[in-house]
Protein backbone atom coordinates (compact mmCIF):
# COMPACT_ATOMS: atom_id res chain seq x y z
CA UNK A 1 0.00 0.00 0.00
CA UNK A 2 1.44 3.34 -0.98
CA UNK A 3 0.85 6.56 0.94
CA UNK A 4 0.38 6.95 4.66
CA UNK A 5 -3.30 6.10 4.82
CA UNK A 6 -4.74 3.19 6.72
CA UNK A 7 -7.20 2.17 4.06
CA UNK A 8 -9.02 3.36 0.99
CA UNK A 9 -12.69 2.45 0.97
CA UNK A 10 -15.33 2.24 -1.72
CA UNK A 11 -18.73 2.30 -0.08
CA UNK A 12 -21.92 1.57 -2.00
CA UNK A 13 -25.48 1.91 -0.80
CA UNK A 14 -28.49 0.41 -2.57
CA UNK A 15 -31.49 2.67 -2.28
CA UNK A 16 -35.10 2.02 -3.08
CA UNK A 17 -36.93 5.25 -3.85
CA UNK A 18 -40.53 5.05 -2.72
CA UNK A 19 -41.30 8.59 -3.73
CA UNK A 20 -44.78 9.12 -5.07
CA UNK A 21 -45.07 11.09 -8.30
CA UNK A 22 -46.41 14.20 -6.61
CA UNK A 23 -43.52 14.37 -4.21
CA UNK A 24 -40.01 15.85 -4.48
CA UNK A 25 -37.18 13.44 -5.10
CA UNK A 26 -34.84 13.32 -2.12
CA UNK A 27 -31.32 14.68 -2.39
CA UNK A 28 -28.75 12.75 -0.43
CA UNK A 29 -25.16 13.24 0.65
CA UNK A 30 -22.80 10.36 1.37
CA UNK A 31 -19.68 10.51 3.46
CA UNK A 32 -17.55 9.44 6.35
CA UNK A 33 -17.11 11.10 9.75
CA UNK A 34 -19.11 14.23 8.88
CA UNK A 35 -17.21 14.78 5.65
CA UNK A 36 -19.58 14.36 2.73
CA UNK A 37 -17.98 13.35 -0.55
CA UNK A 38 -20.87 12.67 -2.95
CA UNK A 39 -24.24 14.26 -3.51
CA UNK A 40 -27.08 12.78 -5.49
CA UNK A 41 -30.71 13.34 -6.31
CA UNK A 42 -32.52 10.04 -5.91
CA UNK A 43 -34.67 9.67 -9.00
CA UNK A 44 -34.71 6.01 -9.99
CA UNK A 45 -36.92 3.51 -8.18
CA UNK A 46 -33.82 1.47 -7.30
CA UNK A 47 -30.21 2.48 -7.67
CA UNK A 48 -26.74 2.17 -6.20
CA UNK A 49 -24.91 5.23 -4.91
CA UNK A 50 -21.19 5.07 -4.14
CA UNK A 51 -18.36 7.11 -2.77
CA UNK A 52 -14.66 6.64 -2.11
CA UNK A 53 -12.97 7.71 1.09
CA UNK A 54 -9.45 7.62 2.43
CA UNK A 55 -9.08 6.67 6.08
CA UNK A 56 -6.00 7.88 7.96
CA UNK A 57 -6.73 6.54 11.42
CA UNK A 58 -7.18 3.06 12.82
CA UNK A 59 -10.44 2.36 14.59
CA UNK A 60 -14.02 3.57 14.52
CA UNK A 61 -15.30 5.39 11.44
CA UNK A 62 -18.88 6.46 10.79
CA UNK A 63 -20.43 5.95 7.35
CA UNK A 64 -23.14 8.55 6.87
CA UNK A 65 -26.04 9.14 4.55
CA UNK A 66 -27.84 12.43 4.91
CA UNK A 67 -31.27 13.20 3.50
CA UNK A 68 -30.92 16.87 2.78
CA UNK A 69 -33.49 19.39 3.87
CA UNK A 70 -35.16 21.72 1.41
CA UNK A 71 -36.14 25.19 2.48
CA UNK A 72 -39.69 24.82 1.26
CA UNK A 73 -42.03 21.92 0.70
CA UNK A 74 -39.70 19.74 2.74
CA UNK A 75 -42.67 17.68 3.88
CA UNK A 76 -43.05 16.51 0.28
CA UNK A 77 -39.58 14.99 0.05
CA UNK A 78 -40.04 11.34 -0.85
CA UNK A 79 -39.34 8.35 1.30
CA UNK A 80 -36.39 6.04 0.67
CA UNK A 81 -35.25 2.68 1.97
CA UNK A 82 -31.69 1.49 2.33
CA UNK A 83 -31.66 -2.02 0.88
CA UNK A 84 -27.97 -2.86 1.24
CA UNK A 85 -24.61 -1.45 2.22
CA UNK A 86 -21.51 -2.83 0.58
CA UNK A 87 -17.88 -2.02 1.19
CA UNK A 88 -15.53 -3.12 -1.57
CA UNK A 89 -18.49 -4.93 -3.11
CA UNK A 90 -19.09 -7.02 0.00
CA UNK A 91 -22.41 -6.69 1.79
CA UNK A 92 -22.43 -5.98 5.52
CA UNK A 93 -25.42 -8.34 5.68
CA UNK A 94 -27.47 -8.38 8.85
CA UNK A 95 -25.12 -5.87 10.44
CA UNK A 96 -27.04 -3.23 8.51
CA UNK A 97 -29.54 -3.41 11.36
CA UNK A 98 -26.96 -2.00 13.74
CA UNK A 99 -27.22 1.31 11.90
CA UNK A 100 -28.71 4.35 13.57
CA UNK A 101 -31.14 6.87 12.09
CA UNK A 102 -31.52 10.40 13.38
CA UNK A 103 -34.69 11.90 11.86
CA UNK A 104 -34.79 15.67 12.04
CA UNK A 105 -38.58 15.53 11.98
CA UNK A 106 -38.64 14.13 15.50
CA UNK A 107 -39.79 16.70 18.05
CA UNK A 108 -36.64 16.15 20.08
CA UNK A 109 -34.37 16.56 17.10
CA UNK A 110 -31.83 13.82 16.52
CA UNK A 111 -33.25 10.80 18.23
CA UNK A 112 -31.80 7.36 17.86
CA UNK A 113 -34.05 4.89 16.10
CA UNK A 114 -32.01 1.72 15.73
CA UNK A 115 -33.06 -1.04 13.36
CA UNK A 116 -35.11 1.24 11.16
CA UNK A 117 -33.98 1.41 7.58
CA UNK A 118 -36.94 3.39 6.31
CA UNK A 119 -35.40 6.83 6.35
CA UNK A 120 -38.57 8.89 6.09
CA UNK A 121 -38.24 12.46 4.94
CA UNK A 122 -35.14 14.07 6.32
CA UNK A 123 -32.42 12.94 8.62
CA UNK A 124 -29.02 11.38 9.05
CA UNK A 125 -28.33 7.67 8.88
CA UNK A 126 -25.06 6.29 10.23
CA UNK A 127 -23.23 2.98 10.37
CA UNK A 128 -20.07 2.32 12.33
CA UNK A 129 -17.13 0.43 10.88
CA UNK A 130 -13.69 -0.31 12.25
CA UNK A 131 -10.65 0.17 10.08
CA UNK A 132 -8.64 -1.48 8.74
CA UNK A 133 -11.59 -3.53 7.59
CA UNK A 134 -9.56 -6.38 6.11
CA UNK A 135 -8.30 -7.21 9.59
CA UNK A 136 -11.80 -7.57 10.97
CA UNK A 137 -12.69 -11.06 12.06
CA UNK A 138 -15.74 -12.88 13.29
CA UNK A 139 -18.97 -10.96 12.95
CA UNK A 140 -18.33 -9.14 9.74
CA UNK A 141 -15.48 -9.83 7.44
CA UNK A 142 -14.09 -8.43 4.24
CA UNK A 143 -11.46 -10.01 2.10
CA UNK A 144 -10.14 -13.00 0.22
CA UNK A 145 -9.71 -15.22 3.27
Amino acid sequence: MSGNYVERLRISIDIENQTRKDQINPTISLGLNDEFYSHYTVTNDFDTYSFDAIVYTVGSQIVQLKINELEQDSWRIGQIYIRDLRIHGISVGMNLYSSIYYPVSHPDGHTEMPSILCLGNRGLWSFQIDTPLHENTKDWKIGLV
Partner: protein, 248 residues
Amino acid sequence: MLEEFVDSYSKDLILACFGDEAELYAEDFKITESFYRKYSTTLLENIDIIRNKTIVDVGSSTGVWSVLMCMLGAKSVVSIEPRAKFSNGLKKFTNKHNFPITCVTDFHTATSDYIVDTVVMMQIADLIPDIVTFLAKLKSNTDKILLNTELHSHVPNDQIEVVLRPNVSLRHGFNFSELDTVDSVTGNQTDIFKAIEDPDNGLYLMYNYGANYFQTIARYLGYTVEKNYTTEYDEKTNSSIYVINLKS
Protein backbone atom coordinates in the same frame (compact mmCIF):
# COMPACT_ATOMS: atom_id res chain seq x y z
CA MET B 1 5.80 -16.70 -2.99
CA LEU B 2 3.14 -14.56 -1.31
CA GLU B 3 4.81 -11.53 -2.90
CA GLU B 4 4.29 -13.15 -6.28
CA PHE B 5 0.65 -13.78 -5.39
CA VAL B 6 0.17 -10.10 -4.50
CA ASP B 7 2.10 -8.81 -7.51
CA SER B 8 0.56 -11.09 -10.12
CA TYR B 9 -2.72 -12.59 -8.99
CA SER B 10 -4.53 -11.07 -6.02
CA LYS B 11 -5.95 -8.11 -7.94
CA ASP B 12 -7.54 -10.28 -10.62
CA LEU B 13 -8.88 -12.76 -8.07
CA ILE B 14 -10.48 -10.02 -5.96
CA LEU B 15 -12.10 -8.34 -8.95
CA ALA B 16 -13.32 -11.69 -10.30
CA CYS B 17 -14.95 -12.59 -6.99
CA PHE B 18 -16.18 -9.24 -5.66
CA GLY B 19 -16.66 -7.19 -8.83
CA ASP B 20 -15.68 -3.67 -9.79
CA GLU B 21 -16.74 -2.21 -6.44
CA ALA B 22 -13.69 -3.97 -4.97
CA GLU B 23 -11.27 -2.03 -7.18
CA LEU B 24 -9.63 -0.09 -4.32
CA TYR B 25 -9.32 -3.21 -2.16
CA ALA B 26 -7.77 -5.04 -5.10
CA GLU B 27 -5.25 -2.27 -5.69
CA ASP B 28 -4.30 -1.98 -2.02
CA PHE B 29 -4.41 -5.67 -1.13
CA LYS B 30 -1.64 -6.79 1.18
CA ILE B 31 -0.86 -9.90 3.15
CA THR B 32 -1.98 -9.46 6.75
CA GLU B 33 -0.41 -11.18 9.71
CA SER B 34 -3.50 -13.36 10.04
CA PHE B 35 -3.38 -14.34 6.35
CA TYR B 36 0.33 -15.18 6.60
CA ARG B 37 -0.22 -17.34 9.67
CA LYS B 38 -3.03 -19.31 8.01
CA TYR B 39 -0.88 -19.82 4.94
CA SER B 40 2.24 -20.86 6.80
CA THR B 41 0.69 -22.98 9.54
CA THR B 42 -1.69 -24.85 7.24
CA LEU B 43 -0.11 -25.01 3.79
CA LEU B 44 3.65 -24.53 4.26
CA GLU B 45 3.69 -26.73 7.33
CA ASN B 46 2.10 -29.54 5.30
CA ILE B 47 3.74 -29.00 1.94
CA ASP B 48 4.42 -32.77 1.65
CA ILE B 49 0.72 -33.50 1.13
CA ILE B 50 0.26 -30.60 -1.29
CA ARG B 51 3.25 -30.50 -3.65
CA ASN B 52 2.85 -32.87 -6.62
CA LYS B 53 -0.50 -34.01 -5.23
CA THR B 54 -4.02 -33.96 -6.60
CA ILE B 55 -6.30 -32.07 -4.27
CA VAL B 56 -9.94 -31.29 -3.56
CA ASP B 57 -10.45 -27.93 -1.82
CA VAL B 58 -13.84 -28.30 -0.09
CA GLY B 59 -15.75 -25.03 0.29
CA SER B 60 -13.08 -23.08 -1.53
CA SER B 61 -14.88 -19.72 -1.24
CA THR B 62 -12.87 -17.18 -3.27
CA GLY B 63 -10.39 -19.91 -4.18
CA VAL B 64 -7.42 -18.14 -2.64
CA TRP B 65 -6.13 -21.33 -1.00
CA SER B 66 -6.62 -23.31 -4.22
CA VAL B 67 -4.49 -20.76 -6.07
CA LEU B 68 -1.81 -20.78 -3.38
CA MET B 69 -1.71 -24.58 -3.36
CA CYS B 70 -1.15 -24.53 -7.13
CA MET B 71 1.63 -22.00 -6.64
CA LEU B 72 3.15 -24.36 -4.07
CA GLY B 73 3.27 -27.11 -6.67
CA ALA B 74 -0.01 -29.01 -6.41
CA LYS B 75 -0.55 -31.17 -9.49
CA SER B 76 -4.19 -30.13 -9.72
CA VAL B 77 -6.94 -28.75 -7.51
CA VAL B 78 -10.70 -29.31 -7.67
CA SER B 79 -12.30 -26.28 -6.00
CA ILE B 80 -15.80 -27.04 -4.75
CA GLU B 81 -17.84 -24.01 -3.74
CA PRO B 82 -21.66 -23.77 -3.69
CA ARG B 83 -21.88 -20.01 -4.13
CA ALA B 84 -21.80 -19.34 -7.86
CA LYS B 85 -20.53 -15.81 -7.29
CA PHE B 86 -17.24 -17.22 -6.04
CA SER B 87 -16.93 -20.38 -8.13
CA ASN B 88 -17.65 -18.42 -11.32
CA GLY B 89 -15.20 -15.73 -10.20
CA LEU B 90 -12.51 -18.34 -9.63
CA LYS B 91 -13.28 -19.90 -13.00
CA LYS B 92 -12.84 -16.53 -14.70
CA PHE B 93 -9.56 -16.02 -12.86
CA THR B 94 -8.33 -19.53 -13.64
CA ASN B 95 -9.11 -19.19 -17.34
CA LYS B 96 -6.98 -16.06 -17.47
CA HIS B 97 -4.03 -17.41 -15.52
CA ASN B 98 -4.06 -21.07 -16.53
CA PHE B 99 -3.88 -22.65 -13.10
CA PRO B 100 -4.71 -26.38 -12.97
CA ILE B 101 -7.91 -25.67 -11.08
CA THR B 102 -11.29 -27.21 -11.84
CA CYS B 103 -14.10 -25.04 -10.47
CA VAL B 104 -17.20 -26.89 -9.34
CA THR B 105 -20.33 -25.07 -8.20
CA ASP B 106 -21.68 -27.58 -5.74
CA PHE B 107 -21.84 -28.60 -2.10
CA HIS B 108 -19.29 -30.58 -0.11
CA THR B 109 -21.00 -33.82 -1.11
CA ALA B 110 -19.57 -33.40 -4.64
CA THR B 111 -16.20 -34.40 -3.15
CA SER B 112 -17.23 -38.03 -3.69
CA ASP B 113 -16.98 -37.48 -7.46
CA TYR B 114 -13.19 -37.13 -7.28
CA ILE B 115 -10.35 -39.48 -6.36
CA VAL B 116 -7.43 -37.41 -5.12
CA ASP B 117 -4.37 -37.57 -2.90
CA THR B 118 -5.47 -34.92 -0.40
CA VAL B 119 -8.76 -33.36 0.64
CA VAL B 120 -8.27 -29.89 2.09
CA MET B 121 -10.92 -28.48 4.44
CA MET B 122 -9.92 -24.93 5.19
CA GLN B 123 -12.24 -23.60 7.91
CA ILE B 124 -15.26 -25.30 6.40
CA ALA B 125 -15.92 -28.22 8.78
CA ASP B 126 -18.12 -26.03 10.97
CA LEU B 127 -20.59 -25.58 8.10
CA ILE B 128 -20.93 -29.26 7.13
CA PRO B 129 -23.90 -31.15 8.58
CA ASP B 130 -23.16 -34.71 9.70
CA ILE B 131 -19.39 -34.33 9.49
CA VAL B 132 -18.89 -37.92 10.66
CA THR B 133 -20.70 -39.39 7.64
CA PHE B 134 -18.86 -37.02 5.33
CA LEU B 135 -15.45 -37.97 6.72
CA ALA B 136 -16.35 -41.68 6.62
CA LYS B 137 -17.21 -41.47 2.91
CA LEU B 138 -13.91 -39.79 2.10
CA LYS B 139 -12.10 -43.07 2.72
CA SER B 140 -12.83 -44.19 -0.83
CA ASN B 141 -11.74 -40.84 -2.28
CA THR B 142 -8.48 -39.84 -0.68
CA ASP B 143 -5.45 -40.78 1.40
CA LYS B 144 -5.12 -37.68 3.52
CA ILE B 145 -7.28 -34.92 4.95
CA LEU B 146 -5.79 -31.54 5.81
CA LEU B 147 -8.31 -29.94 8.11
CA ASN B 148 -8.18 -26.46 9.61
CA THR B 149 -11.03 -25.62 11.96
CA GLU B 150 -11.62 -22.90 14.51
CA LEU B 151 -11.00 -23.84 18.09
CA HIS B 152 -13.78 -23.15 20.59
CA SER B 153 -12.30 -23.44 24.03
CA HIS B 154 -15.70 -23.16 25.72
CA VAL B 155 -16.93 -26.36 24.05
CA PRO B 156 -16.08 -29.52 26.02
CA ASN B 157 -13.39 -31.76 24.49
CA ASP B 158 -15.24 -34.09 22.15
CA GLN B 159 -18.59 -32.37 21.97
CA ILE B 160 -20.28 -30.08 19.47
CA GLU B 161 -22.12 -26.84 20.04
CA VAL B 162 -24.68 -25.90 17.38
CA VAL B 163 -25.56 -22.30 16.68
CA LEU B 164 -28.37 -21.04 14.43
CA ARG B 165 -27.39 -18.19 12.15
CA PRO B 166 -29.09 -16.32 9.31
CA ASN B 167 -27.85 -17.11 5.85
CA VAL B 168 -26.67 -13.60 4.95
CA SER B 169 -22.98 -12.90 5.36
CA LEU B 170 -19.74 -13.27 3.45
CA ARG B 171 -19.06 -16.60 5.14
CA HIS B 172 -22.18 -18.61 5.76
CA GLY B 173 -23.59 -22.10 5.60
CA PHE B 174 -26.79 -23.45 4.11
CA ASN B 175 -30.09 -24.73 5.32
CA PHE B 176 -29.90 -28.10 3.59
CA SER B 177 -33.61 -28.74 3.95
CA GLU B 178 -34.39 -25.70 1.79
CA LEU B 179 -31.82 -25.86 -0.99
CA ASP B 180 -34.40 -24.83 -3.60
CA THR B 181 -34.36 -21.35 -2.02
CA VAL B 182 -30.67 -20.71 -2.72
CA ASP B 183 -30.19 -17.57 -4.79
CA SER B 184 -28.14 -18.58 -7.82
CA VAL B 185 -26.04 -15.39 -7.68
CA THR B 186 -25.48 -14.61 -4.01
CA GLY B 187 -25.74 -18.10 -2.60
CA ASN B 188 -27.98 -16.69 0.14
CA GLN B 189 -31.27 -18.31 1.10
CA THR B 190 -32.81 -15.14 2.45
CA ASP B 191 -32.07 -11.43 2.50
CA ILE B 192 -31.72 -8.98 5.34
CA PHE B 193 -35.35 -7.86 5.09
CA LYS B 194 -36.91 -11.31 4.91
CA ALA B 195 -34.66 -12.45 7.74
CA ILE B 196 -36.10 -9.74 9.98
CA GLU B 197 -39.70 -10.33 8.89
CA ASP B 198 -39.34 -14.09 9.32
CA PRO B 199 -36.43 -14.93 11.65
CA ASP B 200 -36.63 -18.62 10.69
CA ASN B 201 -36.02 -17.78 7.04
CA GLY B 202 -32.62 -18.97 5.77
CA LEU B 203 -31.28 -20.22 9.08
CA TYR B 204 -28.31 -22.54 8.96
CA LEU B 205 -26.49 -24.51 11.64
CA MET B 206 -22.92 -23.72 12.57
CA TYR B 207 -21.08 -26.49 14.40
CA ASN B 208 -18.49 -25.46 16.99
CA TYR B 209 -16.25 -28.40 17.82
CA GLY B 210 -14.48 -29.12 21.07
CA ALA B 211 -10.70 -29.49 21.14
CA ASN B 212 -10.64 -33.29 20.93
CA TYR B 213 -13.61 -33.79 18.63
CA PHE B 214 -11.70 -34.79 15.50
CA GLN B 215 -9.31 -36.98 17.47
CA THR B 216 -12.32 -38.91 18.75
CA ILE B 217 -13.97 -39.15 15.32
CA ALA B 218 -10.73 -40.28 13.67
CA ARG B 219 -10.40 -43.04 16.23
CA TYR B 220 -14.01 -44.06 15.67
CA LEU B 221 -13.50 -44.20 11.87
CA GLY B 222 -10.19 -46.05 12.12
CA TYR B 223 -8.19 -43.13 10.80
CA THR B 224 -4.82 -41.97 12.11
CA VAL B 225 -4.23 -38.39 13.19
CA GLU B 226 -0.68 -37.81 11.98
CA LYS B 227 -0.52 -34.22 13.12
CA ASN B 228 -2.63 -32.02 15.37
CA TYR B 229 -1.54 -28.60 16.50
CA THR B 230 -3.13 -25.33 17.50
CA THR B 231 -2.29 -21.94 16.15
CA GLU B 232 -3.37 -18.40 16.96
CA TYR B 233 -4.30 -16.22 13.99
CA ASP B 234 -5.29 -13.11 15.85
CA GLU B 235 -6.50 -12.11 19.28
CA LYS B 236 -9.96 -13.56 18.58
CA THR B 237 -9.24 -16.69 16.57
CA ASN B 238 -7.42 -19.90 17.37
CA SER B 239 -7.48 -22.80 14.97
CA SER B 240 -6.77 -26.47 15.27
CA ILE B 241 -5.04 -28.12 12.33
CA TYR B 242 -5.15 -31.83 11.61
CA VAL B 243 -3.48 -34.11 9.11
CA ILE B 244 -5.52 -37.29 9.05
CA ASN B 245 -4.37 -40.45 7.32
CA LEU B 246 -7.33 -42.52 6.08
CA LYS B 247 -5.39 -45.48 4.75
CA SER B 248 -3.01 -46.41 7.54
